[in-house]
């Protein structure tokens, strides 16, 4: 272990690239988990310490590096969120609850046009109004910002053009809301309306007025914001596979639907420093954004995260209204508060991309997945936001959990004149995952095998690599499937239920933290940092920048510290709100917080513990090797009565070393390939999940009711089972909304028709079925105490599980989301006409007759189960890469073993020949810089 992990295959050492980049799969990296090189207390004799206080407990999947830090305090126990008493007493302060003396109310003037040039803005009447303190327009801030440094395309307010209805034009602050609204209405803007684009396919074409101008990087004269091409594997083998399911999906745009509308308060203090209070998931990027927009150094800004009333990705961009508040506060000299109406929340959006996805799933006659072919066109709306990443995620995140023969992906994201899409729970993976899983269901049916068996016989094992080079460490996929199969009674129900009743399965795969941070400062900048401070009272204050958005990150980090130091939770206090006191954390996105922040916290806590242990050594005379931390005491392991209290040891340590502080950081180990885009989808660990859903379909009305769902999620280790279950059930609720009812509806003229909670249909308590959350623990080698994410991944499988259940119920394959009653009713009518049935109540239901492949796959699945177990408990850790199932040698480059094996990230003309593929068309354009002079 001391040498650290090595990534398979390849050898470590000499093969360094001259450009300083890493060579894929060819390096050693540090001891997992803490990102450091010095595992603490490695001598602690865990066999001796009683289990009740954290002694050795055999883990079903083998030992974990953090086992030796287990003290039995809180890890694995269901504890309430540490801030829940604030929430249940109404004392939690959210954005709009920050009220400062002398505050002014800010209002934003928004564009009434989809797309227009601003000829002039006259603010004089507004400025002259009594009670108005400041008016600002685009001219007050000309600097660009955006969450991704590569695609900064936003401004605090429109510069020369407005790009969607609701785009920010100007803002005012006044003594009260009424005056602010009046002033806002007194601003006169002269627009020249431009032709707007609403259909994403139009975005692929050249346009006279592209929505943004990327200068020499502009792709043609089109509205293509990002395009991706990835081709890996044996494409010919894929194309000649006998079982094929191709489908063309249309999925609607979605909003996060958090209950708290955005709100922000900005104030410049007498010393000229700016404090911004805002419910942000990613305070650090806002910090950077404010600095750029206001042209002031970062140290002049304090970003104060308030309680966040739900985020789900929708509060993770730096937002223009946050800039507006700061600008107005600067101009007026008074604190400014802006809070959104529900409709404005939809205009700022950043929700799930409306998408058109062409999905091909191919299977060969041995029941293997010969390939997955995806073409995803996604509608980015008016700004880039996280879209660069989304474009990758729509493809690269289906290179697991299955072993596949080939992967062929084209993706494109276009700008349209709609509110911007962005990151939303399950970022980029949800729509295409649904398409993959439905495809898998369909090919299993063609092969006459049970889709459950088909999945079980095609899983990547633990400690393997995907076809594009993602390093998969732990996986609990097999156990997830096995559990839902058993608990749902799958074997009796599948294809056996009467018309209108159905059961379906779906799987999910998601990143647990993104391998590369957005603001990437190679090697040096940690993803997460935690500082601990312990004073004479013996309590420990944790300083972290991780943003608790309701998922419970404060609780998780408190648990990690409490566990290592053997202190009860009430002795740990979290300070995570202000950038002034919190070390940088990259924020609550890509399911990174528990994994990264808790790892940093464990490291910091170990450092603190060692200082205190040293003091205990001096007091007791026993070396730390024979000392054990128990509940608020440090004692001699052979005689628990001998020891010192935590406080005594702390006091001694302070006397010896002065202040008692410690700090820990986490950075990801280097991983992955070197091809363009290799970093997208890389994660230090991945989560896996499998759900079974049961539905009732009313064939006369098209209504689908989910009656029950069994939801198994592999979160590595449930640090707090109560919170993990909450995430699973909550994810189910959101996913059920996406599959059955939620959509951002655009009217015939491109207007968003339902910017409110009445017509944006979030499921109520009555639609919510009984969800059985099932926690699977695969004990991730690098996760804190084995943990991985549980916040986003659990959303993915519910969509395909429901779609597949609908098929089981009525024999109709879904390819459009949401499956609202009117849509499904149309499909039912069409289906009836096609198969010449008059009354939908007479529809035939699909039935299952196992074919010859079924038994082959059952046996293979059994063999694989054994294989995986051996890899888990470390009896077999031979290298394994995607392809072994197809007979490849994992230690040799694939290209050497198979003629025609492709690894391409730039298409050839043949690759783009199929005119029916949409995203591929984005590659028909040439970037301006490559176009020579003409």
């Amino acid at each position: 272990m001391a040498k650290g992990y090595r990534q398979a295959p390849g050898k470590s050492g000499d093969k360094k690239r001259t450009d300083g980049k890493r060579v894929a799969g060819q390096q050693d990296f540090g001891v997992p988990g803490s990102g450091g090189s010095n595992p603490h207390s490695n001598l602690q004799d865990l066999d001796y310490v009683p289990e009740s206080v954290g002694g050795w407990k055999k883990q079903p999947r083998g030992p974990h590096v953090h086992d030796r830090h287990i003290t039995g305090m809180t890890i694995g126990k269901s504890v309430p969120l540490v801030d829940s008493n604030w929430k249940v007493t109404g004392q939690a302060e959210y954005g709009d609850d920050i009220r400062l003396q002398g505050e002014l109310i800010g209002k934003i003037l928004r564009s009434p046009h989809h797309y227009a040039k601003i000829r002039s803005i006259d603010v004089s009447a507004a400025e002259a109004m009594e009670g108005v303190f400041a008016v600002a327009t685009g001219q007050d801030s000309v600097n660009k910002f955006g969450v991704l440094p590569v695609t900064k395309d936003e401004h605090a307010m429109a510069q020369d053009k407005v790009r969607h209805v609701g785009d920010l034009v100007a803002c005012v602050c006044a003594i009260d809301e009424a005056t602010a609204i009046e002033a806002m209405n007194a601003i006169i803007v002269d627009y020249e309306v431009l032709p707007s684009i609403h259909d994403m396919e139009d975005g692929l074409k050249d346009s006279e007025h592209p929505i943004h101008d990327r200068g020499k990087y502009h792709i043609g004269e089109s509205n293509v914001q990002k395009r991706v091409f990835q081709q890996f594997g044996d494409l010919d083998g894929m194309k000649s596979a006998p079982f094929v399911h191709e489908s063309d999906w249309e999925t609607a745009g979605l909003h996060h639907g958090f209950t708290e509308p955005h709100a922000v308060v900005a104030h410049w203090d007498p010393a000229g420093r700016l404090t911004v209070w805002t419910p942000q998931q990613v305070p650090h990027y806002l910090h950077r954004g404010l600095s750029a927009v206001l042209d002031i150094p970062m140290h002049q800004i304090n970003v104060h995260r308030t309680f966040v009333g739900g985020g789900f990705g929708g509060k993770s961009d730096p937002f223009p209204h946050e800039m507006c508040a700061a600008i107005l506060a600067r101009k007026s000299g008074r604190p400014v508060r802006i809070n959104f109406d529900r409709e404005e929340v939809y205009w700022i959006n950043r929700g799930r991309h409306p998408s058109r996805i062409q999905m091909g799933v191919f299977a060969d006659d041995e029941g293997r997945i010969a390939g997955i072919e995806t073409d995803a066109l996604i509608d980015g709306g008016a700004f880039a936001s996280f879209g660069h990443v989304t474009t990758y995620y729509n493809g690269v995140l289906h290179t697991a959990p299955y072993e596949i023969g080939a992967f062929n992906y084209t993706g494109a994201r276009v700008w349209t004149n709609k509110p911007a899409s962005g990151a939303m729970r399950g970022h980029g993976a949800v729509n295409s995952r649904c398409a993959v899983e439905v495809g898998i269901d369909a090919v299993s049916e063609q092969m006459n095998v049970d889709p459950m068996t088909f999945r079980l016989a095609n899983l990547l094992p633990p400690h393997s690599r995907t076809i594009t080079g993602f390093r998969v460490t732990s996986t609990g996929m097999r156990e997830c499937l096995a559990k839902v199969r058993e608990q749902s009674g799958w074997d009796e129900k599948f294809r056996n239920l009467p018309l209108g009743k159905g059961i379906g399965v779906g799987c999910g795969f998601f990143i647990s933290g993104s391998g590369l941070p957005i603001h990437w400062d190679p090697e040096n900048f940690p993803h997460a940092t935690v500082h601990l401070q312990c004073d004479m009272d013996g309590g420990v204050t944790v300083h972290t920048g991780a943003a608790d958005i309701g998922q419970g990150s404060d609780t998780a980090v408190a648990q990690a510290v409490s566990e290592v130091l053997a202190l009860p939770l009430d002795m740990i206090r979290i300070r995570s709100k202000e950038s002034d006191t919190a070390p940088v954390d990259l924020g609550s996105y890509s399911s990174r917080v528990t994994f990264m922040n808790c790892n940093a916290a464990i490291k910091a806590a170990c450092e603190l513990r060692d200082k205190v242990m040293k003091a205990a050594w001096e007091i007791t005379g026993y070396n730390p090797d024979v000392l054990v931390l128990g509940d608020r005491r440090i004692y001699y392991k052979h005689d628990p009565a001998v020891g010192v209290s935590w406080l005594e040891a702390v006091h001694k340590a302070q006397a010896d070393v002065g202040s008692l502080i410690a700090s820990g950081a986490y950075r990801t180990p280097p991983m992955g390939g070197v091809h363009k885009g290799a970093a997208a989808g890389l994660a230090p660990a991945y989560s896996f999940s499998a759900y079974v859903a049961e539905v009732d379909v009313d064939v006369e009305t098209g209504f689908v009711k989910i009656t029950k769902a069994w939801a198994a999620h592999d979160c590595g280790k449930a640090l707090n089972p109560l919170a993990v279950k909450g995430q699973i059930i909550g994810s189910c609720h959101m996913g059920m909304g996406q599959v059955l009812s939620e959509e951002m509806k655009y009217g015939r003229d491109g207007h968003l028709m339902n910017p409110d909670l009445l017509d944006y249909k979030i499921m109520s308590v009555h639609e919510m079925p009984d969800v059985v959350p099932i926690i699977v623990e695969s004990n991730d080698p690098e996760g804190p105490f084995g943990a991985k994410e549980a916040g986003e991944g659990p959303l993915l499988p519910i969509l395909p599980a429901v779609c597949n259940a609908i098929y089981d119920a009525i024999g109709i394959r879904i390819n459009e989301l949401p499956v609202t009653p009117d849509r499904l009713h149309k499909r039912i009518e069409k289906h009836c006409r096609k198969i010449k049935v008059d009354d939908p109540l007479d529809l035939p239901v699909p039935r299952f007759e196992p074919g010859p492949l079924q038994q082959v796959l059952v046996e293979r699945a059994e063999a694989h189960a054994k294989r995986d177990h051996l890899r888990d408990i470390q009896e077999d850790r031979s290298s394994y890469v995607n392809g072994v199932l197809f007979g490849f040698d994992p230690d040799k480059p694939m290209a050497e073993q198979k003629e025609g094996w492709r690894e391409a990230v730039v298409p050839t003309p043949q690759d783009l020949a199929d005119p029916s593929k949409r995203a591929a068309r984005a590659w028909g354009h040439v970037e301006r810089r490559h176009r020579g002079d003409e």
Partner: protein
């Protein structure tokens, strides 16, 4: 969200309310406010004066045959006295929280709804307004363009269908005196005028015929979620059985057009030669043909029409084997 400025008046009894109504020339009644206040927040035709009926006690009578305008929907849904069909229908309205404020009168006089209208002021500015709230622009209707005389916004109150099915009478009062009429005649086919109420006139109560208790019924409501959502189509049916024979049948719809629909003539014809399932099917087709929803609510009109047939069939299911 900023309320438009208005003065709220809270008269303590009916006489004072009607007197006040005579005095003020431009005002709205407010009962529970669950329809009026959202509309005001969005600045949909607000008036400078609002007269609240909250304190007017004369309007709260509730029995098997009399239902006061100020009876709260929640009380109606839980009342032991009210007709079962009325109770069933009331329980489907909005959510329990809204039902605690909402009233029968407000439900009957509910403003018509439309995707292009029930939006914020900002939003409506982006479509250059529409005829129903045109902000002095003479804007066109956005649903059926090139005409600016009629508004086809949809009447989406649930109770009306049940009242019509039970052959209720509606009672109005104004400074000029009281009048009453069959329930269906209260409505006017225009999304803007909506009903026959004259300025200063209000709904006092609804009465059901004496033998209403001998009528049974069912209400079927089309909506995506089982709470909050307005009816995208609603069918109420009421029937009277005597000696195993249907001696009366009435069917009414709501949520489809600017006014609720009374299909009792169709129903009366159907029972002359009742043949169970087939009659139901025929009647359901008739209802479907009689109603023409437009595209201004959540579900597409074609779907709503088709569902009328299913809803009617389901409402009449108890009569299948007669």
């Amino acid at each position: 969200m900023r309320m438009p400025p208005f003065t709220l008046h809270t008269p303590e009894n009916l006489a004072k309310a009607l007197a006040l109504a005579n005095e003020l020339d431009n005002f709205d009644w407010v009962a529970g406010g669950t329809d009026l206040l959202p509309n005001y927040k969005w600045h949909l035709n607000p008036k400078p004066n609002v007269i609240s009926l909250a304190k007017v006690n004369e309007l709260t009578a509730l029995s098997g045959t009399v239902i006061g305008a100020m009876v709260r929907i929640h009380d109606l849904a839980n009342s032991e006295d009210a007709h079962p069909l009325i109770r069933e229908t009331a329980a489907t309205i909005a959510s329990v929280m809204i039902r605690r404020s909402a009233t029968v009168g407000g439900n009957i006089c509910l403003d018509t709804r439309c995707y292009w209208y029930n939006q914020t002021e900002e939003w409506r500015r982006s479509i250059d307004w529409c005829h129903k709230c045109d902000c002095d622009t003479e804007a066109d209707c956005r649903v059926i363009p090139n005409q600016n005389t009629l508004c086809v916004a949809t009447y989406q109150a649930d109770l009306a269908a049940a009242f019509i099915a039970l052959d209720a009478t509606i009672h109005l009062a104004s400074g000029a005196g009281a009048r009453s009429m069959p329930f269906a005649e209260f409505f006017q086919l225009d999304g803007m005028t909506r009903n026959v109420l004259k300025p200063g006139e209000l709904v006092t109560h609804v009465t059901l015929p004496e033998d209403a208790k001998n009528w049974q019924g069912a209400y079927q409501k089309l909506r995506l979620r089982e709470t909050w959502d307005f009816p995208e189509a609603g069918v109420a049916a009421a029937w009277k059985l005597e000696g195993g024979k249907i001696t009366g049948l009435r069917v009414a719809t709501t949520g489809c057009e600017s006014i609720p629909g009374d299909h009792s003539e169709l129903a009366e014809t159907a029972i002359v030669e009742w043949s169970g399932k087939d009659s139901i099917r025929e009647l359901a087709d008739g209802v479907r043909k009689a109603v023409k929803p437009v595209s201004n609510t959540y579900f597409p009109p074609a779907y709503r029409r088709k569902m009328l047939r299913v809803l009617t069939r389901r409402a009449l299911a108890p009569l299948e084997h007669l």
